[in-house]
Symmetry: D2
Subunit: 365 residues, 4 copies
Amino acid sequence: MPGNTFGHSFRITSWGESHGAAVGVVVDGVPAGLELSGADVQKELNRRRPGQSEVSTPRAESDTVEILSGVFEGITTGTPVSMLVRNRNADPGAYDYIRNIPRPGHADLFYTEKYGVRDHRGGGRSSGRETIGRVAGGAIAKKLLMGFGIEVFAHVIELGGVKAGPVTFGDIRSNVERTAVRCADPEAAERMLRQVRLAREEGDSIGGIVEVIATGVPAGIGEPVFGKLDADIAGALMSIGAVKGVEIGAGFECAHMKGSQMNDAFVLEDGQIVPESNNAGGITGGLSTGLPIICRAAVKPTPSISKPQRSVDMAAMEEVDIEIHGRHDPAIPPRMVPVAEAMLALVLADHMIRSGRINPDHIRK
Amino acid sequence: MPGNTFGHSFRITSWGESHGAAVGVVVDGVPAGLELSGADVQKELNRRRPGQSEVSTPRAESDTVEILSGVFEGITTGTPVSMLVRNRNADPGAYDYIRNIPRPGHADLFYTEKYGVRDHRGGGRSSGRETIGRVAGGAIAKKLLMGFGIEVFAHVIELGGVKAGPVTFGDIRSNVERTAVRCADPEAAERMLRQVRLAREEGDSIGGIVEVIATGVPAGIGEPVFGKLDADIAGALMSIGAVKGVEIGAGFECAHMKGSQMNDAFVLEDGQIVPESNNAGGITGGLSTGLPIICRAAVKPTPSISKPQRSVDMAAMEEVDIEIHGRHDPAIPPRMVPVAEAMLALVLADHMIRSGRINPDHIRK
Amino acid sequence: MPGNTFGHSFRITSWGESHGAAVGVVVDGVPAGLELSGADVQKELNRRRPGQSEVSTPRAESDTVEILSGVFEGITTGTPVSMLVRNRNADPGAYDYIRNIPRPGHADLFYTEKYGVRDHRGGGRSSGRETIGRVAGGAIAKKLLMGFGIEVFAHVIELGGVKAGPVTFGDIRSNVERTAVRCADPEAAERMLRQVRLAREEGDSIGGIVEVIATGVPAGIGEPVFGKLDADIAGALMSIGAVKGVEIGAGFECAHMKGSQMNDAFVLEDGQIVPESNNAGGITGGLSTGLPIICRAAVKPTPSISKPQRSVDMAAMEEVDIEIHGRHDPAIPPRMVPVAEAMLALVLADHMIRSGRINPDHIRK
Amino acid sequence: MPGNTFGHSFRITSWGESHGAAVGVVVDGVPAGLELSGADVQKELNRRRPGQSEVSTPRAESDTVEILSGVFEGITTGTPVSMLVRNRNADPGAYDYIRNIPRPGHADLFYTEKYGVRDHRGGGRSSGRETIGRVAGGAIAKKLLMGFGIEVFAHVIELGGVKAGPVTFGDIRSNVERTAVRCADPEAAERMLRQVRLAREEGDSIGGIVEVIATGVPAGIGEPVFGKLDADIAGALMSIGAVKGVEIGAGFECAHMKGSQMNDAFVLEDGQIVPESNNAGGITGGLSTGLPIICRAAVKPTPSISKPQRSVDMAAMEEVDIEIHGRHDPAIPPRMVPVAEAMLALVLADHMIRSGRINPDHIRK
């Protein structure tokens, strides 16, 4: 069973290669009645787009989205929404030198092991360009969720060893788009940027951590025991290229805690029973608790670096050195922010419908 | 869409509550031709069974499995394998006091939010007893994989703040079942055990980290872009109760690394192109690399503690203190070892079939 | 991907062989809040049970169901409902003579082609005994639907060449269980019964047609374009052993009709727009129309006959004659009535939830 | 759960409305290594295309397909194949008169019941134009199957009451594209054509029966008990608009047969055990028998007719008469031939992979 479809009741099918004709996505399960325009999607794609700042690849792509179906007179109709982004600045010849030489840290060799053939241009399907489908689908999920009081946002909390200081949700909302590194702590952002520059000068790259948050999720969302909300979020975030770890709430820190510290006690608040603290990160037993969902993804350093690395020429079957001078970001986390938001939004839209909180046929039903 | 089925080509459907008549699992997609007996499954269930040592609950359950279908004359037939374990030592009356009082750190309140009703006895479906289905299904996956040279094993690498020292795969295989805490480093195991005792004396509990490993997985397994092997593993491990974080290979450590450190260079070995190091943890771009798969799950401290905690009586709608004196483990990681192995084995069996490495109809085809 | 799970939001997983330890089913997606007892399920199983009359096999099975999970204090909890029926009157030795000789009209040879091995006793998994899981799951679906005003019932409209005369829904409800052949036209039922007796005397068997009806289905249920309601019904009915054709409404008759005859015009009735006629059989464009759903399944004659038939001994690889003297029904349609009802009910429960008409978490939400 | 995806291991996701920007399909699960060009797909689309003869709508569409992904240097790469057909001859204004008046026999009213809104132009998503996605996806399935010796073809065997005489597979292959009605019996084709003309003159339409055949399918394909090959075929064919009945092999005729007539005896042929006759239509017990798969779909008369019909104006809520003068075919079966072939090919490609007969990663593995 192939793997290019994500979700059940709200579901995206993604397609496209980095230097093929186009990339795109089909979103099935969008309830009818949602106002939707290309601008809603373009706004998110622009955040993901390359060439926005010194932290991202200089590949010049406008990434203009075209909505091909599922919207009539500005409103979704319940039928699939198909979206397309043409690849404009493709430069396939630039990749001839890696046709036979798998790049360390990339999937090149393993695509060849699996499929026998591969589109080597810019990594083909394994390129970060694949995330356009995620972001476009996620844009619809975000708009849908917004109508039900759910907001999803992300920020970079660590980059190249620099950790952001504590920030409020308000800080994140107002600051994150102000810096090239998408960190809500302006002072840390400055230091992160220096790390990015340093890495580029060294022909190297750096890793970091992205935190993704959802507010307004009602309690009781999720499907025990395998379709738990945190299980689906973990799978969603780990499916993003370069992510090597995922945690929710206290996360790995919980390994050092005692039950009496970790447990979120229950209190009465305005006649509602709510957890007093949020070590759970908004999810317990696989179900949302009503508090904000807080999760983090560890992102490895960009595998494409210009420093010489050892590899093997698959045609000649001999060891070689490779320097990667293509267009690439020295750090992935800043551009991963909209992608991580998209994945969390997709999971939440799916589960809101699956648990009957959003009607699958029409948002007003 | 409900959530009690896991996997695609090799698929389990789990059912059962802690104090209902029984718990069990249906395994669909087991290829025909596999020798299978109750003993194969019992062996794994015995490792998960309570009452084995001072680190686990004293609930006395033999957890005897009965295979009800799918096996004929000692061989699987390709039809579903249904397995059943009766609940014997159920003591439902012992849970009357939590009928209306949700336990902090447990799913009680959120099951009520979702379903309106809940079986409160021992946590009902959200009990750790649910993992019997996982372990029974995983036992078949493990046996199937073993025939294709794949071995799955796990160990506790951190408990109550005590970290295990470095161990070899050989150490893990030979040592892990020798200690009650399932740590392969005997010296650390001793200190971990002291932490367990201390926690019990304090009426508290401790968390830890379980590492799961698979050797012998061929390169090229996984389904980009959403069915990536690491995405499925992350979802699988996060679906286990009490897990709050998952990482693969270098995991969260990669956030502090540079590309030149993180990337696994390629070298020629016996005419094969292989990664020289394994920071990737055996998976790159969502595909197996041919090196051992190494992943870790962060496990929170057992939420059931006898120290008083604040909660709310849902009937009286007033805040109360609750002390939990039921039967429970002061630390979950040791008993999670066979569960984590089961989940990794289930993912691998599924993907081995999905990618055509194991024939879905008969293992010898 | 294996095939023992049916449905999406309301979903059954069936397991068990004719002469294994038991047969059963796991029903996932039953909303919480439904009153459910073993008697609700037993009632339907008793209608399917063998040995009830001269038209069915004399195999003596009480087919007593045990509900193992998902129900607490008489109410469903939203967790999977697992049900089990032990095989009591198994007589495996009676099948030794067909271990190597595939029975014409049965799946024996093709199970061997697919799986390499097979449980030959009574057809193993391909036995009609497999339908116990369908009927048990369908019993829950029927009870769920009943609470939303939907009723499902079936009757035999043709058997051994005898066609039933026109009957009303009222006739079906009151008459169908009064005759051994489950035909609502008493006079035709008498003639059908004579055909059954004649066939048995000749050592032969007869086919027929079962009609299944659902009343009370609201308009707009179904999921274009592949999850159309009629597509799912066709797949559901065709998945029952011995069914060779399925039609909805005018069915094959429509091939001879003109558009002006076939189209159901729209009229106003009590302020509602409704079709004036029901040639569509309650489904147009894959969506329910609000009128009764009417579908029919063509059922082949029982393949097990005592007349000599040609087959091949797979061990000796030589042609042989085979006479089948096991316990079997001379006509399948009467006992298929509850099975066909179950399958239609399963499809409708699934689609009622999928389209948001029944809340997936709790029936009263 | 929405319904625009079909298949499991070989899977299409279809999208698009009749008068939107485009229609298309994403095909996931195409094994790598298949030679594929736009011409392979265009060939099949041209057979489905309108405006080819007097039996089809005069809407002028070239239906030119663009392959956007999944093919590199003329070979499939294992990644999703996305295909797009722009709508050129859309004439949306021509449908203003049906914005509020549901057409009898069409899904208009029921889309409104389900989704609240609908794209009324030419039926929107419920238009026959949706089948472009099926045919494009089916073209890849057919090419894939052809490499494994499986051929799929269809013909019209009844139209407007005229039945074709007996024809051989050879007749079908050579004759079916020679007549506008796609009937392999030239004499009957002539009479069918007269029925088409007569219907058009009367402002009416006629129904018919399409037979679909697959040769070369190996024995043992299919997934008991719900994923039976015939169950999936029945669902696939019934999902095509206008189909009201499906049968396999003897089909509804089996209702009048005896077991001794219906059963296909087994004989030895070249050392293989094979059925001597093919009343089963190539499928028994849900598994392929090795003989040709033969199935038939009953197709209702085109619902769009120019004769006045009764309907209701949904805005004014008053009964009105409606005459449909848009572009439409007086008979659907001839153009359904490539669509039915596509659906059968999709089911077979899916099951060939699911049962391990075609490797999911690469066709040569």
